[in-house]
Structure formats: C-alpha cells, structure tokens
C-alpha cells in the first residue's frame, strides 16, 4: 500500500533521514519507536508530504506521490493524520471541525457529513459534544475528536504522530482505546509513539529508528523479547 524507497530528508545541511526503505501492507499496524531526534516524526510526515523529501520516492496505492505532477491534495484525502498537538480548529464547533473537509471538498453534502460526524462522535465516545468548542474540552477529548475528524474522510490509512505525548497521563488510556478499536476494525495504521505497551499489544510490526535509519524491525513478540541491535537494547532498557 505504501512503498518507500531510498527516502532522504535534509533540513539545510542537516540530514534527518538517510535512505529509508520500507513497505507497508494494507491492514498492517506499524508502530515506529526510537529516541527523539531519530527522524520518526519526519518519516511519518514525509508519507503525506507535510515534509517534502529531498530524495527517494514514496508510492501510495500505486501512485508516486513524490512526483511533482501528482495531485497531493487528492491523495491526502485518503490518508488521515492525527497530530501530537491535536490541531483542532478553535473557531469551529466540534461538528464543524469534523464535517469541514468532506463538505468543502464536495465529497458529501452538509447533511451527509453531519450524520457521519455524529456517528463518528458516537464511535469515539463523545456523542454529546457536537456543539462544543475545542477549548471547552480536555486534551483526551480533543484528540478523540481529531481522530474522528480524520476518519470522516474515510481514509485508507491513518498516520498518528505521537498522539498521546501531549496528554495528561490519565487521558492517555481513552485515546489508546479508540486507536485499539480502530486497529481491530482493520484500519491500516502507522503510529509514531512512546507507548511501548501499545506498540507491543496492537502493532503487527514495530520499527526502531536511529539516526535517520530503520535500525531494526520485527513482530512485537521478537522485537521486544529478543532485540538484536545494541542501540535498540540500550533504548529499550531505558524506556521499559
């Protein structure tokens, strides 16, 4: 579904990603872990071109998205993204946040999008918050709504950029629970996370990034039970 070849990204003279090769299949739940500065977020943000790669190609559902001729806006409608800082639109109500994109992109009528939004709000456990504004909600609630907003586009893959890192500890669980349900429903997911428990129990594959490369990867059982790379061993001994 997503095919990454020789992906490189440099900010000025600073190389963040140095030639990543990776293939993500439909239905996979890939957790990306690693120390800060290892390039995990940059890698994720390259997948929907929020960061413009400086080298290599990314193919999504058979289309080369790094080709300047590709209509990236169209492809992004099929890739949902959830941010560390939620990034809900503060001037719009929860309902308007969710239905803005589907309506403005003429994928649904206002009524259809409204119905879909209410259905998604029920799914993330906040059916009574449609008319609330983001500032009235807790961090956990905002992130659940951000997930609903991304799902409203019916994406084929969901990208999560440290979705629980900005949350108070008691709110992490409610967000992970929604993500777990999403995974159970068969959604393809790429999750940059520091939640090792989540990576272990939900991911079908775990990637360890270090200094702009994928240093090690594997199924969670082997990955956490029997790490090979010395940097991974060191990392896991610190975080587990």
């Amino acid at each position: 579904m997503i095919d990454v070849k020789n992906l490189e990204k440099a900010f000025g003279g600073h190389r963040v990603l140095s030639g990543i090769n990776e293939h993500i299949e439909k239905g996979e739940k890939v957790a990306v872990i690693g120390p800060s500065g290892s390039g995990k977020s940059t890698f994720l943000r390259c997948l929907n071109l929020l960061e413009q790669p400086t080298g290599g190609t990314i193919t999504f559902e058979g289309v080369d998205i790094t080709d300047p001729k590709t209509d990236i806006n169209k492809l992004r409608t099929r890739m949902g993204m959830v941010f560390q800082q939620f990034n809900l639109f503060p001037h719009l109500s929860v309902l308007e946040n969710i239905r803005l994109a589907p309506v403005k992109l003429k994928l649904m009528t206002k009524e259809q999008a409204g119905e879909k939004a209410l259905e998604l709000l029920k799914r993330v456990g906040l059916p009574d918050k449609a008319d609330a504004y983001p500032k009235q909600l807790s961090g956990g609630q905002q992130q659940r709504i951000a997930i609903a907003r991304a799902l409203a586009m019916n994406p084929d893959v969901m990208l999560f950029d440290e979705p629980t890192s900005a949350l108070d500890p008691e709110m992490v669980g409610e967000v992970l629970e929604i993500m777990r349900e999403l995974a159970d429903d068969g959604m393809t997911m790429v999750v940059v996370t520091h939640e090792m428990g989540f990576a272990r129990s939900v991911a079908t594959r775990v990637l360890f990034m270090d200094e702009g490369n994928i240093a090690e990867q594997g199924e969670p059982e082997a990955f956490f039970g029997n790490p090979q790379h010395p940097r991974l061993k060191e990392f896991l001994s610190k975080v587990l």
């Binding site: 300047p68 990034n87 803005l100 500032k135 586009m153």
Partner: protein, 240 residues
C-alpha cells in the same frame, strides 16, 4: 458670545452653507468605505501570495512555483512603491496622469481607487502578520485533510487571523478616514474641501475649521465604538 453666534450663523446658516459640510461628510464616507473594501481585498490577496511564497520550502520546481515567484516580486514592488511615496502624490498622479482623460463626475471613483490601492499596501502587511500569528499546525491539519492551500487559508487560517489583527485593522481604517482629507488636491469636495470653500466665502477661519476638526473627531469616535463592538463579539467565542 455674540460674536461666536454670529460666526456660527455665517458658517452654517447663511446661504445654506451647512450643505458644504453635509455633502462633504457624504463624500468623505463614500471614499473611505469604497477604499476600505478595495484595500482589504488587495491586502488579503497580497498577504496570501506573500505567505504562500514564504512558506514554500524544499526543492519543488515547476511552472506554479515560477509563477508564484513572479507574483511575489510584483507584490513586493507594489508594497515598496506605495509605502515609499506620499498619498497625496499618488492621488495627483492617479487623477492628472493615469486618468487624465476622465470626466469630473468620475473623480469620486478615481479617488476611491487611489485610496484603496494605498490602503491595500498597509492592510497587506497587517494581514500577513495575522497569518503568521496562527500556529503552523492549523494549516498542516487543513492540508492533511486534503484541502488546498487557498481553502486552508480561507476556511481555517484567515478567519482566526482576522480576530488577531482587528485592532491594527481598525487603526488603518481611522488613518484612512482622516487621510481622505487630501481629496481637495484634485478638486473633490470632500469634508475638508467643503470647509475651505466656506472659509473663502466668509473670510473667517475659526468656526469652519474648528467645526471640521470636531466632525472628524466624532466620526472617528463612532468608528472606534463600532470596532470595539465588533471585537467584543468576535472575542466572545474565546470564552465559550
């Protein structure tokens, strides 16, 4: 006291001279409102072009980017020329050079155009500062949903930016209102020109010009009141 009453009578009542003031207020307000509308339109357009040009990073090439570069250059030239020359000079050039073929009944339109073009340069920089005040995450969230750059600006960034720049925009509007007092240079009988005509009839300057100042002051106070009201209403959404 008697002298003052006599002067007031001479200035306003004799020969129905109050009409110079009344019609002058009409012209001044007309020019201000037309210039405001044009100025905001130009300002938003220029600000979006400049922000789009500033926000593009990386190595994407192509016709669109060359075009954006040219547009940005044109905008910068516009800002430099308009902000670098006096308003009166621009007005004189507009009427006596650019529109030298125009009939006298088009004077109001030419003046409004000239003031609008002038105001647009200042509004552009105000709007650009507003756009820059909005967290980058907001436009990333919009783009990640598949919205285009222009849609993201229009539905997400600018509505939030307007709230932040309203005080500065109000300042510009007050400046604009007062600056229209140079309309007389091309022979447009705005409020100031009206007072000058009255002075030339009565050979007395005190009452016409003090009244003139009071009328401007009252108009500015009314405007300030309206702006405060608008700001309070927009801010109300912050407390929800």
């Amino acid at each position: 006291m008697e002298w003052l009453l006599d002067q007031l009578k001479q200035t306003f009542i004799e020969g129905s001279r109050w009409r110079y003031f009344a019609q002058g207020i009409g012209i001044t307000l007309e020019v201000t409102v037309l210039a405001l509308l044009l100025g905001v339109a130009i300002g938003v357009l220029v600000a979006v072009v400049r922000s789009a040009h500033d926000s593009q990073r990386g190595n994407r090439k192509g016709l669109g980017h060359v075009l954006l570069g040219i547009l940005d250059w044109v905008c910068k030239l516009y800002l430099t020329v308009i902000r670098g020359t006096p308003m009166v000079v621009q007005l004189l050039i507009m009427w006596f050079v650019v529109f030298k073929w125009a009939r006298d009944d088009m004077m109001l339109w030419v003046a409004s155009l000239s003031f609008g073009i002038n105001s647009g340069a200042y509004v552009a920089e105000i709007v650009r500062s507003g756009i820059m005040s909005i967290d980058l995450g907001q436009s990333e969230a919009g783009r990640s949903l598949g919205l285009t750059y222009v849609q993201t600006m229009g539905y997400i960034v600018i509505p939030q930016a307007i709230k932040n720049i309203l005080p500065a925009l109000g300042n510009e509007l007050i400046t604009l209102l007062k600056e229209t007092s140079v309309c007389g240079f091309i022979g447009l009988t705005d409020l100031t020109k009206g007072a000058m005509i009255v002075q030339s009839r009565t050979y007395s300057a005190f009452v016409p010009y003090i009244s003139l100042a009071v009328i401007y002051l009252v108009m500015v106070l009314a405007l300030t009141g309206l702006l405060n009201l608008l700001e309070r209403r927009l801010r109300a959404s912050d407390r929800r």
